[in-house]
Symmetry: D2
Subunit: 419 residues, 4 copies
């Protein structure tokens, strides 16, 4: 089998961890069982560019159970779990191209390896696969019937492509499902970002001044968890409505130029570039620590930081200490890449359960409906969203109320007013 992984010998540990994650993924498991019976993806070639983690492995197993021929590469050079990649190849028969810490060339070579499989469906996380397909590998576009996209950043890119008339096939924005971004972005990113930072630094969060750049779904997750761990949290935003929400949620709201002067720790989650740049580095306190949990490693302008520095050294794994010309030190975590994947294990399985249930069901939906869909960005069908929520509640052992007939009727009427 074609593949490029660190070491196939890591497969044992990988398999064990994949199975552990599976215990927290009851929704995906139920879908896999149905897929095994129904084979809705039979013979479909599916190219996936995702973080190669235990949770992704369970998605890949599910797609394969549905009959798909899956090829997998990493959607971030630092996020691969090498034991999982090994197990995918040796235990689950899925051609995988991903090595933790791979360089940029290897990263794109792996994307091309997946594209070489002539995918009919693309499953992307950040739109790098789609982007290469629409620039260097246009010849392969004829094979593709549709795709899915996992993350906010990718959806923004795809919308931009659609607006510019560049996008050539329909893509479902999995990120926009309620059962995805309400949960994965908020609770998943919230916890795992702090987890990554703590593993990298062993900092006590209580009592720290933590700046969270961006109050989108991810940012509010991180702000909430940082507060839950005892930090004094400051939020920066460019959107006035979100800034107001942050203020009324009890956070201080400051422009970044003022926030940096008070920060012990700064985390960026904006989906934008150069959120931290020259002017900010120069205004930081000695010892300030910065991390990124947005999709791409562009939120911190590392080239500018390097220019300003007289030396760089690894102070601890995942911690690079830059010393500026004035002697002041700035610590960058995980090279400015997604810190939850670089220094921890990414999102917990329990939350990826829903995100990846959306992926699996949207792949099935695409096979059935691609021909009806225009080459633009589509929402996850509402019935898929609701079904996943119900399966998840059941998996958590939670019961909820049902509308009575009288109540359903009331919601549809307008004549009953104040009495």
């Amino acid at each position: 089998m074609q593949c490029d992984v660190r070491s196939i010998e890591l497969a044992g540990e990988g398999k064990r961890r994949i199975e552990w994650a599976d215990r927290s993924m009851p929704v995906l498991r139920q879908i896999r069982e149905r897929f095994e019976r129904e084979r809705p993806l039979d013979g479909i070639r599916l190219g996936a560019c995702l973080h190669v983690t235990t949770e992704t492995a369970n998605l890949a197993r599910t797609l394969r159970a549905g009959g798909a021929q899956v090829l997998l590469c990493a959607s971030n050079p630092l996020s691969t779990q090498d034991d999982v990649a090994a197990s995918l190849v040796s235990d689950y028969g899925i051609p995988t191209f991903a090595i933790k810490g791979e360089d940029n060339d290897t990263y794109y070579r792996h994307i091309n390896a997946v594209l070489d499989g002539k995918p009919q469906i693309t499953m992307d996380d950040g739109a790098d696969l789609v982007s290469v397909l629409h620039s260097e590998r246009k010849d392969l576009l004829t094979h593709v019937i549709g795709g899915t996209e996992e993350t906010t950043t990718g959806v923004i890119r795809l919308r931009s492509m659609a607006t510019q008339g560049v996008l050539r096939y329909p893509i479902i924005a999995v990120n926009d499902a309620q059962t995805k971004h309400f949960f994965d972005n908020r609770y998943g990113t919230g916890q795992s970002t702090l987890d990554g930072i703590i593993r990298a630094t062993n900092f006590l969060i209580a009592g720290m001044a933590v700046v969270v750049a961006g109050y989108g779904w991810c940012g509010r997750g991180v702000a909430s968890r940082a507060r839950g761990l005892g930090a004094q949290v400051i939020v920066t935003e460019v959107d006035p409505v979100r800034a107001l929400e942050a203020a009324m949620d009890g956070f201080r709201v400051l422009p970044m130029s003022k926030a940096v002067a008070e920060a012990d720790l700064i985390v960026t989650l904006t989906g934008n570039l150069h959120v931290l740049r020259r002017e900010h580095f120069l205004a930081m306190k000695d010892g300030a620590t910065i991390a990124n949990s947005g999709h791409f490693n562009v939120e911190i302008n590392l080239p500018e930081l390097k220019e300003l520095s007289v030396s760089v050294r690894e102070a601890r794994p995942f911690v690079d200490e830059y010393t500026l010309q004035g002697g002041q030190r700035v610590c960058v975590l995980g090279e400015g890449r997604l810190i939850n994947l670089a220094a921890a294990e990414g999102h917990p399985a329990s939350v990826m359960d829903m995100s990846f249930a959306n992926q699996a069901l949207c792949a099935e939906y695409m096979v059935q409906h691609a021909t009806d869909l225009s080459p633009t960005v589509h929402s996850v069908p509402a019935e898929i969203d609701a079904m996943i929520a119900r399966l998840k509640l059941a998996g958590m052992g939670l019961e909820i109320d049902q509308l009575t007939d009288e109540q359903s009727e009331y919601l549809d009427s307008w004549t009953m007013g104040t009495t």
Copy 2:
């Protein structure tokens, strides 16, 4: 001037309180100053059915400053502040028809008094005005060019009217503005509901088991504030996605039939009817206290509770104690009407500032654009929403970041990927 208020002598206290509220309403104040200069509503007859509070008074002043002829009645029999009604009449020259505690006949007589003014624009809160207009007063529909609606419940009714083809003119759903429902429903209802309950009961919330029925914007506000005051909060829901959110926000999620058995206090905010009914009353602990903060007084089935009871007495102002046949007591607050308006002062001025800025600007928009709009429910224009957010931030003295040119460009591009 035509009016029906408790006592005109209360005007002095009302005026003082209206001015106090005005201090926390910088957005509306700036709009009022512009309206005085520009008179965008000159000569427009505007019929408003709103909670007659200090904040509404400042909205009415603003509409009048813009040139409108405003007539005002209450949108809830218990929510009128009699001193404010008096001051509106005597200090601000606004015909007002509202008496706290008015009976159902008077309530609807007041609505008809406003309709008698042949409004061109309706400004509603709960859609009672629109509902009467479309049933008993259809003759007046010819005068109307458009309207606005303040609350979730009203929007649901209007959507139902539009779906059924009954709605005869365009209405803007002010409730759907981000600067409205994100703030007023969450922070306003959150705080003021607890405030009303505490004033009615003087309960210590810490240590209580509090059940919140409904995890919409209002419900999550109340759940969050109850937890912030030390309660152990249980959420009930009919929507699986919201139920999952509640669980991941750390709340217990139970069906109502199980929740009632543990509850010290139950608050309904569902927009639906009979959320608490016979089966629930019978399962409550002795001394359980129930309140409603949804728009209409139908969420608690009081007729059923009366049937089950051997006696009812007022235990304290706003507290009716029902004794069931088994001897067990249930206390109902504020007769099951909106407890924040019944027992406290409704939403704080600071949050109504944004909601009513939306009302004023949507009235202006309607005058300019009504002829272009179909007779259905419309969203608040995005530019109004953003402008209000910016004015509010300025009013709170908060500064935020601006996108750099490079960043705006990045958001519009799709070619820059992982590096």
Copy 3:
């Protein structure tokens, strides 16, 4: 019967509210039932100087059920509930001297009226009764066998008296009971202080910058509740350990001189004087609002504020607006007196249940043990504390674990180490 109350006609409403409070006071109720049978205070003359609220009324009933002859005056000129005072006199036969808003002369005349009853036991809240007794009324000291003191401030004064050798009889510091200061100071003051502020102002707390001066038990209660309502909280302290705790609890810690410049609302709870003074008033933002929830009205230096001001007016009940020479306005709530009693109903009954159970049981203890006690400040006996906690848990329907025999033994041994 001797008494001085606002109007005896208010008794009906007072009685109803006293009975309502009694429902949330199961511990005191059980003690009252035992006292009725056992009459442990038979014939004892007891002079009480306490906030005259519904909860105090239930304490007075309990003491009287135990056989005591109780005389009652107010421990704060603003904290009396006039309907309760009336009911105490007319329904419960307790001579009461207390009128809400009484002037300073009347306040001390009422204290003297209680002392005229030649108390054998004093029950004080702030040590004003004890202080008058030890200065102007020394002749009465021969009657007194012992006393109790309710609050932190009173205990500090009494300790100072004991240290200086002035105190002439034993006093039990009820405030030091775990079942008192852990609960009443933290949860009671926390909620009721915010309650008083909201009633006085109708402010939305979410999004406000709230400064809490003092991080003792009361201060941390207020800080926690303000955060729970969405405020951005800043703490000021003079004690380094408490300041560290505040920081690690996630609050900003600033010296007052810096905090005032950011504050929308400032609350003092330090037990010290002139926490807010000239330098702070001058540095406040226009419209800043200040309140006190410490025992005495000395924490805000109002005479200095008056000197700095060109005018003062009542902007709303309980809100005095001072305009400084520079035009900047400062609003003082409740004349700088305990805001929870001035503008709201004081501590909820549920928490006073434990505090006053301590009072009742300590009065009984004093009758039995006064002769064995030196004339100094004594702790509440541990067995009283534990008994109250157990009764309260039962009253709340909560069950806890019991140590097994094996576990009790383990706690007493030292030989079992790491295995």
Copy 4:
């Protein structure tokens, strides 16, 4: 040099991590600088039994800078960081006897190796060193002048020894310092326990039902952090006052027999044994996960769990899955040993800074004052506590208020009352 460590080659990584921790330990660093100048421990033999972590290394460096001859062993078989042990030996010249995962015999052999150094001062964490000294190595007692003890569990054992008249020399209970147990037990244990659990399991804490056994300083830290991460937290207690506090802090309070049936995760921090035992294992849900963060591995009765099980397997590092006879699975983390040390890095440096500053200053105090102290358990002198708090505030860049002269005077007076 005498030593027993995993591999001396790990020293490089250990040194780098020790230096990283030092950056968050400004208080200890200042003490070390003074010790280097003043040499207050010159020639003193000091035997330390502590968790061998980066923070402990910085304490050892400080003691050595003060002139002491330090020997070090582990206070828990699982808590040693092997790279740190290596660095202590090779970079800092401190004889160290500690290997992560050492068996029970080795553990006690290492304690004896430290005792072989004939310590004059013992520095203990859990009282194993003192316990061996007072049983098997009584001959060495003549050398000892005094000691210190780090943890709650150790202090309980020592108090029991003192009560039974067994303790032979004075020991300072470092744990009782405010700057120790307020911070280390609450914020340190709180964060690091969750950290250990997340590293071991990659669980999403949000939405889990988490049972915290014990609401002491450590337990409330864990309960608070679990809630901060979105868990629904249940507390179990044997002490009625603590149980009440937990309830009023908003937690559910249940006896363990009921709590286990709802628990997804259970953490014990009681300082007692067999908190989880046969009856509880049998009542757990399938897949329930249990961990201990109390000092000793006796809180979970593992022998009973083994008896009940048909199989045990390692599901993931630090996760042992027991399958009971009924097929239900229970996962035990870190073999029931302190999970924050077993699966994570123990307390963050920032909080150990204060705990170990107490250790260093108490060792100095003991050298100066041991002859004046009786052979019992002593408190940390108040001036040491206050000095550490002030140094820490300075290290965090925080400024606080100072009492004015007028205020100091006021606190000492009793004559100024209500005005």
